[in-house]
C-alpha cells in the first residue's frame, strides 16, 4: 500500500444551483519518497486533487487513504491533527504569515499540535532548515522584506519543519522567474533525496514534469496518463489500486 491512495474519488462543487464536477472519479497510488507531478491544463482538477490529498477538502465520493488510513470519516479536529503530523504545504503565493519573521514562520508549525520537542532541539532543527534553504542571513526579516524566491524558500523550510512524510506543492514555481524556479525545484529534489520526503506537485511547469519520477496527467477531471519512470518505474503499490491500470480504467 502506498503513502497516498485515492480510490474512485469524485468532487463536485455547487455553484448556485448548478453542480459542477471538478474531479470525475480518479484512482491512483503514490509511494513513499515519490517526487510526483500532477500535470494538466487549468480546470483539469489538479488543485482539487491536491486539496483532497492534503485533507483540506473532502471528496464528494470515493476515499482518500493517507499512510493506509481512510480519511472520509474523520472529524475536522482529527483531520487537522493528521494534516499537522503528516503533511507539509507549499503554496503558489507562498502564504507566509506576514507578522512573523523568517525564523518564526518556520517555527510556527512546531508550536502547534500535541508533540513537544525541547527548545534546543527545535532551535537546532530550524537553524538547519534555514541553512538548507540558504537564508541564514535573513532569519530576522519579515516576508515583505524578501524576494519571491526567498519567500518560497521560507515556505519550503516551513513545510518541512514538522518532518512530514508528504509535502504538497501547488504550482510552487508559478510566481517565480525561470532561474529562481529552477533553483527551487533543485532544492526540493535534493530534500526529496536526502529526507525521503514524498513531494506531490500540481504544476504547469515542464521542468518539474521532466524531473518527476511519477507523473499523473489530468484532463477535465480524469486521469489521462499515470506514468512511473526511472528508479521508481516498478513501484510497490497494488496494481488494483496503483499506477498504470487504474489510469487506464479511469480513462475508460
Amino acid at each position: 500500500m502506498g503513502i497516498v491512495e485515492l480510490t474512485d474519488v469524485k468532487k463536485t462543487y455547487l455553484l448556485g444551483k448548478v453542480e459542477v464536477p471538478a474531479v470525475k472519479g480518479v484512482t491512483f497510488c503514490i509511494e513513499k519518497g515519490d517526487f510526483i507531478s500532477i500535470a494538466g491544463p487549468s480546470g483539469s482538477g489538479k488543485t482539487t486533487i491536491l486539496n483532497m490529498v492534503g485533507l483540506v477538502d473532502q471528496p464528494s465520493d470515493g476515499e482518500v487513504y493517507i499512510d493506509g488510513k481512510p480519511t472520509s470519516k474523520l472529524k475536522d479536529a482529527e483531520l487537522t491533527r493528521l494534516r499537522h503530523e503528516t503533511l507539509g504545504f507549499i503554496f503558489q503565493s507562498f502564504n507566509l504569515i506576514p507578522v512573523l519573521n523568517v525564523w518564526e514562520n518556520i517555527e510556527f508549525p512546531l508550536l502547534l499540535g500535541r508533540t513537544r520537542v525541547s527548545k534546543a532541539e527545535k532551535d537546532e532543527w530550524i537553524d538547519h532548515l534555514i541553512e538548507e534553504v540558504g537564508l541564514a542571513d535573513w532569519r530576522k526579516h519579515k516576508p515583505n522584506e524578501l524576494s519571491g524566491g526567498q519567500r518560497q524558500r521560507v515556505a519550503i523550510a516551513r513545510a518541512l519543519a514538522t518532518r512530514p512524510q508528504i509535502v504538497l506543492a501547488d504550482e510552487p514555481t508559478a510566481n517565480l522567474d525561470s532561474a529562481t524556479g529552477e533553483q527551487i525545484i533543485e532544492l526540493m529534489k535534493r530534500i526529496n533525496r536526502e529526507l525521503q520526503t514524498t513531494f506531490i506537485f500540481s504544476t504547469h511547469d515542464a521542468k518539474i514534469v521532466d524531473i518527476a519520477d511519477h507523473i499523473i496527467r489530468l484532463k477535465d477531471g480524469l486521469i489521462t496518463e499515470n506514468l512511473r519512470r526511472g528508479e521508481n518505474a516498478e513501484g510497490s503499490c497494488s496494481p488494483a489500486q496503483g499506477a498504470a491500470k487504474p489510469a487506464l480504467a479511469t480513462e475508460a
Binding site: V56, D57, R83, F89, N95, F108, P109, L112
Partner: protein
C-alpha cells in the same frame, strides 16, 4: 495558545491606523465613564464633608424633654453629656453646641422665612473657613445680635451690612416671640443647600427660644474624617446608652420617611415616654439623599457606558468582519498547517481582548490626567458649587474596583462583538479559504 496570542498581538500593529481608531474609540468611551465615576465617587464625600462643617459635626446629639404631652427640644445638662461623650472612647476633634429656630425675617416690609442657627460665632473656626463672607466681616460677629445671611436672602430682603432686621419666631414652648438682629455679614451663596441657613450668636438665639445661657439644642461632634462617622456613632451610642436615656437609632422604614433621620423622628413620636432623652444621628443619615444622587450618577454612567459601547461594538464587529475577509488566505494557510478551529477563534478573540484592554487602560489613564488637570483649578471657597468641591477644588475618587469593573465590562462587550466574526473565521473550510481571491 501562547502562539495565537502572540500573533494576535502582532496583528494589531498591521493596521496601525485602524487599531488606533478602534482603541481610541474605546479609550474615549472609557474616559467619559471614568470621569463620571470619579466625580460621583468624590461627590458624596465632598458634600457630606462640607455639610458637616456647615452643620458643625459628623455625629450629632439632640436633646428632648417631655412632660405630659409637651416636648421641648433642649439640652440642659451640658456637663453630664460632655462627660458621657468623653467617656464613650471616641476622639472628637472638637464639639459644637447649637440651637436653631425657623422664623420670619422682616426688613422694611419685606419678609422671608428661614432657619437661623445659633452658633458660637467666636469659636467655630471651621464655620468661618467654610462660610466666606462677601460683605461685612467676622469681627462684626462679636456683636451679641449679629446675624449672617446668605447672598440670596440678603438680596431678597434688600438688606445691607449694619441694617437691623426683625425676626418673628416661636420659643421652645410654642409662644410667639419677636427679636432684632443686626446684619454682620453676607456670605457667598453656597448653592441650593447654603441658602437654607442663616447664622446668629448662640446666646441671643437661646434667649429668643426661651432657653437659658449654657443650654442648647444640638451637640455636634466633629471627627477626623467622614469615614469614622458611623463607627464612632455606634461606639458613642453604646457609651451614651450606659449613662443617659437614648432614643433607639432609626433606620429607613416603610413608613414613607425619606431619610433614616425622618424615620428616627417618626418612631420616637410614637413612643410613650417622660423625662429627658437624647437622640443620636450622623451626617450620613441627614444627607442620605446624597447617596441617591450618587446612585443616579452611577446609573447614568452605566447607561452611557452601555449605549456608547453598543455603538462602538457595532463598529468593532464590522471591522473584524472585514479583517476576517482580509486575512482569509492566512486563515486557510494556518488551518492547512494544523491550527484547529478553536485556535483561529482564539486568535481573533485575543486580538479583540488586547484592543479592549489597551483602549480601556488608555481611557482610564486619560481620565486620570483630566481629573488631575481639573483638580488643579481653584474655584475658591466662594464658588456657588462649593458644597461639591473639596477646599475649593474639584476632586475625584475612582474606586479601583470600579475601574477594574469598567475594564472587565469593556473586555466582555468587545469579546461579544467579535464572537460572531471570530466564529465565522473558525468555521471557514480551509479549501474555501485558500481559494478565495481577495
Amino acid at each position: 495558545m501562547k502562539t495565537t496570542a502572540n500573533i494576535a498581538f502582532r496583528n494589531l500593529s498591521r493596521q496601525k491606523k485602524r487599531s488606533f481608531l478602534l482603541g481610541g474609540a474605546i479609550a474615549f468611551g472609557v474616559m467619559i465613564v471614568t470621569l463620571i465615576n470619579g466625580f460621583a465617587g468624590a461627590f458624596s464625600a465632598n458634600v457630606s464633608e462640607n455639610f458637616s462643617h456647615l452643620l458643625a459635626g459628623h455625629v450629632f446629639i439632640s436633646g428632648a424633654e417631655k412632660n405630659g404631652d409637651k416636648e421641648l427640644s433642649v439640652i440642659r445638662d451640658d456637663a453630664a453629656l460632655s462627660a458621657a461623650v468623653r467617656q464613650a472612647g471616641i476622639a472628637p476633634k472638637y464639639l459644637t453646641r447649637r440651637s436653631e429656630f425657623s422664623g420670619t425675617l422682616i426688613f422694611e416690609g419685606k419678609k422671608i422665612r428661614t432657619n437661623v442657627a445659633g452658633v458660637e460665632l467666636a469659636t467655630e473656626d471651621y464655620l468661618r473657613e467654610r462660610l466666606v463672607l462677601k460683605e461685612g466681616s467676622w469681627d462684626n460677629a462679636a456683636d451679641p445680635r449679629a446675624l449672617i445671611l446668605s447672598e440670596k436672602i440678603a438680596e431678597r430682603l434688600n438688606v445691607e451690612v449694619g441694617d437691623r432686621l426683625l425676626v418673628q419666631m416661636q420659643t421652645v414652648n410654642g409662644q410667639n416671640n419677636v427679636g432684632e438682629f443686626r446684619l454682620a455679614g453676607i456670605s457667598y451663596d453656597a448653592g441650593i443647600f447654603g441658602q437654607l441657613l442663616s447664622y446668629a450668636g448662640l446666646e441671643y438665639v437661646n434667649e429668643l427660644l426661651g432657653l437659658k445661657s449654657g443650654e442648647y439644642q444640638t451637640m455636634g461632634i466633629m471627627l477626623d474624617s467622614l469615614k469614622s462617622a458611623e463607627p464612632s456613632a455606634d461606639k458613642l451610642y453604646a457609651g451614651l446608652s450606659a449613662s443617659v436615656s437614648m432614643f433607639a437609632r432609626g433606620e429607613r422604614d416603610e413608613s414613607g420617611a425619606q431619610t433614616p433621620f425622618q424615620a428616627l423622628m417618626r418612631e420616637q413620636n410614637k413612643e410613650d415616654w417622660e423625662g429627658v432623652r437624647y437622640r443620636l444621628f450622623t451626617i450620613n443619615e441627614l444627607l442620605s439623599q446624597i447617596e441617591q444622587i450618587v446612585a443616579a450618577l452611577d446609573t447614568a454612567a452605566g447607561v452611557i457606558l452601555v449605549v456608547l459601547f453598543i455603538i462602538i461594538m457595532v463598529g468593532i464587529a464590522n471591522t473584524f468582519s472585514m479583517v476576517m475577509f482580509e486575512r482569509i488566505r492566512e486563515i486557510g494557510t494556518m488551518r492547512a498547517m494544523g491550527v484547529q478551529r478553536s485556535g483561529v477563534r482564539q486568535m481573533f478573540l485575543f486580538e479583540a481582548l488586547f484592543l479592549a484592554i489597551g483602549g480601556a487602560v488608555a481611557g482610564i489613564a486619560a481620565a486620570l490626567l483630566v481629573m488631575g488637570g481639573l483638580s488643579l483649578i481653584n474655584f475658591g471657597m466662594d464658588s456657588p458649587a462649593f458644597l461639591i468641591l473639596k477646599n475649593g477644588h474639584l476632586s475625584f475618587y475612582l474606586p479601583p474596583l470600579r475601574a477594574m469593573g469598567n475594564i472587565a465590562i469593556i473586555a466582555l462587550l468587545t469579546l461579544l462583538a467579535v464572537a460572531r466574526p471570530a466564529g465565522a473565521a473558525a468555521r471557514l473550510e480551509p479549501a474555501v479559504a485558500l481559494r478565495t481571491q481577495k
